[in-house]
């Protein structure tokens, strides 16, 4: 077999060597404490989670990972449609910067983590696989999306399960899903709760359907609060949308995890990128900012809503948002003036909830076409030293034990820790997933 012309005679040895060093790296990584980068306020309650998916693949240079083209490169290495002075930063935290498509996020950057340089795959395996990987932190089809995994890890019954406006990846988890449309429609359709309660109260044995009828009775207070909130918001000039349903479900106690897919934006700009993508991405981030803003307007104290002991926190302060897309886009324009899929780097925004100071984690860089073995420029994520948080920019810095690339499972692990959940125990991320250090206040 070793004589086969397509198999390198040392491939098995190289494989074993690589496997051994990888195992050592993972083993040492497990000794690291479960900590995170970014300041985290102590939480006496577990926050809610909203996973926001923006399908299509966002050019991160226009949003979360703004770049200034290096000297000595040109448009054929990286096409950037903005000048450095169009990059915006938070007024008090200058290191929190975003490109011109994400200026709507600026007011929230002091309460956000931006993960840059996330490596999805070495090669492009399509939108669905990458978005699912970003949403589940696991490409094996076993896990639910992060929203589902949060619900699964808590093991606390939630009347609505995961609130979502699209199909939710559930993997092998047996979880209920309630569509936001159903919640909003319930305002305008007859509510059979009272009718069903009477049937339930009239007696009968124990059965799955009887248990669901009892669930209606048990959730009567929460359901009433949900309806009350939605009716208040319905009176506003802005029509009710998916995130209103999620917010009402959280505030009323009907759910603790939601998933919102932003489907109506055309981010997959394989042609005419300069004219179309920036505008589309602006609308994505404006939408995200609108969701954040709305959550900030809702006073919320866990279990103590409107009580005298309220400390003035909002629902935004008790909700962790995770915004993901499939991948970034190639740095240069193709023949159709478009940008294609680039799984070598990606960015994720984590905001709200327990994050009390903004921080950028990870970094990407441009490999000009002259330095690329393929002859085409590449925009790639850089490895991290997980013990220090520093980005590794040269091979000489690479220490084997704590250096690795940033992958979706590392981001998910961070999210889990922010939620007070160790995703390694539930199998959401591998036991060997590297952890990130945390600067606690």
């Amino acid at each position: 077999m070793a004589d086969h012309p397509l198999i390198h005679p040392l491939s098995r040895r190289l494989f074993l060597k690589g496997a051994a060093s990888t195992s050592a790296l993972f083993g040492l990584a497990n000794l690291a404490p479960l900590e995170l980068w970014g300041d985290v306020a102590s939480q006496d309650t577990t926050p809610f989670l909203v996973l926001i998916k923006a399908p299509g693949g966002m050019d991160v240079t226009l949003g979360l990972d703004p770049l200034i083209r290096p000297a000595g490169t040109d448009d054929q290495d990286m096409f950037i449609e903005y000048t450095p002075n169009e990059i915006r930063s938070h007024p008090t935290q200058n290191d929190m910067r975003v490109g011109p498509s994400a200026t709507a996020l600026v007011p929230f950057l002091d309460q956000a983590l931006i993960f840059n340089g996330i490596v999805m795959n070495e090669s492009d395996n399509g939108h669905t696989a990458n978005l699912n990987y970003a949403a589940t932190a696991n490409g094996q089809g076993k896990n639910a999306s992060l929203a589902g995994e949060v619900l699964f890890s808590r093991r606390a019954p939630q009347p609505f399960g995961v609130v979502a406006n699209s199909t939710v990846i559930l993997g092998k988890r047996a979880l209920a899903v309630t569509q936001t449309g159903t919640i909003l429609q319930s305002l305008n359709s007859p509510d059979p709760s009272e009718f069903l309660e009477r049937i339930q109260q009239a007696g009968g044995g124990d059965s799955p359907f009887r248990r669901s009828l009892r669930a209606i009775s048990a959730a009567k207070v929460e359901a009433g609060e949900l309806t009350r909130l939605l009716k208040i918001w319905q009176a506003a000039p802005v029509p009710l949308e998916d995130f209103h349903a999620a917010a009402a479900a959280f505030a009323s106690g009907m759910a603790s995890a939601a998933e919102i897919t932003l489907n109506s934006f055309s981010l997959d700009t394989h042609s005419d990128h300069p004219r179309r993508h920036q505008e589309a991405q602006i609308r994505v981030w404006e939408r995200v900012a609108a969701i954040f803003s709305f959550f900030r307007t809702i006073p919320f104290e866990p279990k103590r809503v409107s009580s005298a002991s309220a400390t003035g926190t909002s629902l935004f302060d008790h909700t962790l948002f995770v915004v993901v897309s499939d991948f970034s886009r190639t740095p240069y324009l193709n023949a159709s003036k478009g940008k294609d899929h680039n799984p070598l780097t990606n960015s994720v925004l984590v905001a709200g909830g327990p994050i009390k100071r903004g921080r950028v984690i990870g970094q990407s860089r441009l490999v000009p076409r002259g330095d690329s073995s393929s002859g085409e420029a590449m925009h790639i994520g850089l490895p991290l030293d997980y013990s220090t948080g520093a980005t590794i920019t040269s091979r000489a810095e690479a220490a084997p034990a704590s250096v690795n690339f940033l992958h979706p499972e590392n981001v998910a692990h961070t999210v889990g820790a922010l939620m007070g959940i160790d995703f390694r125990k539930s199998g959401t991320v591998p036991q060997t997933t590297l952890t990130l250090p945390l600067d606690r206040k």
Binding site: P159, A176, T178, Q179, G181, P192, F195, G204, S207, F209
Partner: protein
């Protein structure tokens, strides 16, 4: 094409229903369109309203598929372990629509019948009791419903004996006669089920808000004053029995 009852169809339909899984017993709830088929099967002279509002009950959409215990393609197991509260609400609403359409059809038939007569289709749904006083009471109530003569107090307008008769008829029609019911296991009795249905329908108080909140008030314009309201309430309660759902 109108579905007609036949033993072969019943066996085939039972296989169809039990071939999928939902609970620990690996049974599942029939889809609402299957419920409509059951109604068409058991009440073949009825009229399934093709109105727009039934569409949400007939189709699996992203809005309702998670209520139904969808099976995972990978292993065929149900996606949710038990029906959630939204399932119960949505299911009851769909069933209420189906029942409302069926009974509204009967009311229209009776309204169009000659004065003083009882439409023959109505009698197919509610066969006349053999006991003379019950037979007379039922004819009188059906006639009043057709002529819109509303009794002053509809809640007590139907005697306990006639209520039991209606419950017995609907249970036998939708779930099965006594030998079938008593064959469901040593802990199950037909008499117990009828008492349970009777208690639920009476607790429902079909003339009051609990019943009207289901949208019946609009659909069954005369239901609060007629025997048809009680019939509809009974069909709805029986339709929500596990013995019906999980056959």
């Amino acid at each position: 094409m109108r579905l007609r009852f036949s033993p072969a169809f019943a066996v085939g339909f039972a296989i169809l229903l039990t071939g999928f899984s939902f609970t620990e017993r690996w049974m599942r709830y029939p889809r609402p369109d299957e419920i409509l088929m059951i109604f068409q099967d058991r009440f073949p002279d009825g009229f399934i309203h093709p109105a727009m509002e039934m569409n949400s009950c007939r189709q699996l959409t992203t809005d309702n598929r998670s209520f139904l215990g969808d099976n995972r393609p990978a292993d065929g197991k149900p996606i949710v372990a038990e029906p959630n509260l939204h399932f119960a609400k949505w299911y009851a609403s769909c069933l209420a629509d189906a029942v409302g359409n069926e009974v509204a059809f009967l009311i229209r038939r009776q309204s169009q019948a000659q004065a003083g007569s009882v439409d023959s289709k109505v009698l197919e749904w509610l066969p006349a009791p053999t006991e003379p006083s019950l037979r007379e009471e039922m004819r009188d109530l059906i006639h009043k419903a057709g002529t819109q003569q509303k009794p002053a107090n509809p809640a007590v307008s139907i005697s306990p004996e006639l209520r039991i008769y209606i419950v017995t008829q609907v249970v036998a029609r939708l779930i099965g006669p006594d030998p079938v019911l008593n064959g469901k296991g040593p802990l199950f009795s037909a008499q117990q089920l009828r008492q349970q249905v009777l208690a639920s329908v009476d607790a429902l108080d079909f003339s009051e808000a609990g019943f009207q909140s289901m949208g019946f008030k609009t659909r069954l314009q005369h239901s609060e004053s007629s025997i048809f309201g009680y019939l509809a309430a009974t069909m709805l309660v029986v339709g929500l029995q596990d013995e019906f759902l999980m056959q």
